[in-house]
């Protein structure tokens, strides 16, 4: 499995992706530095908007989407998936290796900057803890879901963006029912509840539900990806 994982990882880590998304990661830390040094601001409020408004809402989902949808998606699209699939390797290993490879890049590129930003902003350990757990859960959930999406659907990036922009940014912020199945609302709830004294996102749920939804989504996604690999047609 490590050979699979290393191959998939090397395929994902292209220069263009790393540079462009790395710049955004750096931006998160820069904003946190500004929060720290700027006088006369409500620092906790500003720090939270960096962690929640930029980090968990924008940076983590987009970075996860770009790498997870490409993990199996690129190979499926150009036909090289056959060199991984027509091997005596259990399908769940392939699914996990792909998700693991994508996560290996998302963690330093998205989760770590958010945590560093929370630490740099200097408003207390609770925000750092909230940032860590929230961003981590978000990265895992988005990675698992978009990995499967990349395998099954041809224009996975476009569909993933549609999901992020329409469902998570618009619908789930308005409709309570939709919020319950939104990874964004769940993970932002986790961040806010751990950090305490910060405003909860609209349509926030209880902590147990907020943890359950993304974890269940991740698990179901991995199972479905494995089944797709077992059944699917490989070029």
């Amino acid at each position: 499995m490590s050979a699979l994982y290393r191959t998939l990882l090397r395929g994902l880590a292209t220069r263009g992706r790393l540079l462009a998304l790395g710049a955004l990661a750096v931006l998160a830390v820069l904003l946190a530095v500004l929060v720290r040094v700027r006088a006369g601001v409500d620092r906790p409020d500003a720090a939270f908007s960096v962690v929640d408004g930029y980090g968990v809402s924008v940076l983590v989902p987009i970075v996860s989407l770009v790498f997870a949808s490409a993990a199996l998606g690129d190979a499926a699209e150009d036909g090289t998936l056959v060199y991984l699939w027509l091997r005596p390797v259990a399908r769940w290993r392939l699914a996990l290796a792909a998700a693991g490879a994508a996560l290996t890049i998302s963690l330093p590129l998205a989760v770590l900057p958010v945590v560093v930003a929370a630490a740099v902003a200097g408003v207390g350990a609770r925000l750092v803890a909230g940032a860590l757990v929230g961003a981590l859960v978000a990265a895992v959930a988005y990675t698992a879901v978009f990995c499967g999406l990349g395998l099954r659907v041809r224009r996975a990036l476009a569909w993933g963006l549609a999901y992020l922009v329409i469902w998570e940014q618009a619908v789930a912020r308005v409709a309570k029912g939709a919020a319950r199945v939104s990874i964004s609302v769940s993970t932002r709830t986790i961040t806010a509840r751990i950090a305490r004294h910060f405003p909860l996102p609209r349509n926030a749920m209880s902590m147990p539900v907020a943890v359950f939804v993304p974890c269940a989504a991740a698990l179901i996604a991995v199972v479905l990806t494995t089944r797709s690999l077992q059944r699917g047609e490989v070029a």
Binding site: L24, L31, V50, A158
Partner: protein, 291 residues
């Protein structure tokens, strides 16, 4: 006894009229528009364009229905007038532009068809004009259509602007706002696709620019109090501020509680559009076509 002729077999040259560069540009624009909207392609390519169109038009249709079915006094502030409609369609508008522009520019580079286009009467500038025109037309379906539909529906039910003067004024504002938004969205959404040949990556980049700039501008203006001007960096807010100014209204709330200066809004909108257009033009005229 009629004369016999042999008309010739094999290769024959074309001796008919040549329609020239303008026709070539128009043909490319039309073809690109069809491609972006998923026309003449399998059903799955139509799903996202149709979905975004539905999201854009649905509120207008719903509001017209509400006006028809509910008594006026109970409508109150529920149904927006045309000026405030634009906030409802922001998500659809951005998604549409984010996906349409990469669809227009990236496949030509990825499949190396750009060289074939440039071997025809098209020049790089006319190529770009055709592409931008097609994307702008598609975007205008979302920026012009729904507000005009809402205006028509409201007016037909006597819930619209008062008098002919009021109607014409609102119509003019709606047309102006729709066209301005179409220009702006087209220019901004073409920048990243001009930099890459991967369609999905360009679309992700566009969405990232939208969401990221919104988050960053809010942090800079509200959180860090660097000044209201930073709100204009937020590309989700700038179009909305622009449309309210065109309709002669005040804009969204700001940290300092004074509205953003109108001149500043116009300047920012023009500057963003111009810079984006220049970057795109510079990239397209420089892209390497042959290997």
């Amino acid at each position: 006894m009629t004369d016999a002729r042999i008309l010739g077999t094999g290769y024959r040259t074309y001796t008919g009229p040549r329609l020239g560069p303008r026709h070539a540009t128009w043909t490319l624009a039309r073809h690109t528009f069809e491609r972006v909207m998923g026309l003449r392609r399998p059903a799955r390519y139509k799903v996202l364009p149709i979905l975004t169109l539905v999201i854009a038009y649905l509120p207008a249709v719903a509001f017209i229905g509400a006006i028809a079915l509910l008594p006026t006094r109970r409508l109150g502030d529920f149904v927006p007038d045309v000026a405030r409609y634009y906030s409802f369609v922001t998500a659809a508008l951005w998604l549409f532009a984010a996906l349409a522009a990469p669809e227009a520019l990236c496949p030509d580079k990825r499949s190396h068809v750009l060289g074939l286009y440039l071997a025809s009467p098209l020049t790089r500038v006319s190529y770009l004009a055709a592409k931008a025109g097609a994307v702008a037309t598609a975007v205008a379906l979302v920026t012009l259509g729904p507000p005009l539909v809402l205006l028509a529906g409201e007016s037909l039910q006597n819930a619209g602007p008062r008098g002919v003067g009021g109607f014409m004024s609102t119509l003019g504002h709606a047309l102006g706002a729709g066209v301005a938004l179409a220009f702006m969205f087209t220019a901004i959404s073409l920048v990243i696709p001009s930099l890459t040949d991967r369609r999905g990556f360009a679309a992700a980049g566009n969405v990232l620019v939208l969401l990221g700039s919104a988050a960053v501008s809010n942090i800079l203006a509200f959180g860090l109090r660097f000044g209201d001007g930073w709100l204009l960096v937020g590309l989700a807010r700038l179009p909305y501020e622009l449309t309210t100014r065109i309709f002669g209204r005040t804009g969204l709330p700001t940290p300092s509680r004074t509205p953003l200066p109108t001149a500043g809004v116009y300047l920012a909108a023009t500057a963003v559009t111009a810079v984006a257009a220049v970057v795109t033009w510079w990239r397209v005229t420089r892209v390497v076509v042959t290997r």
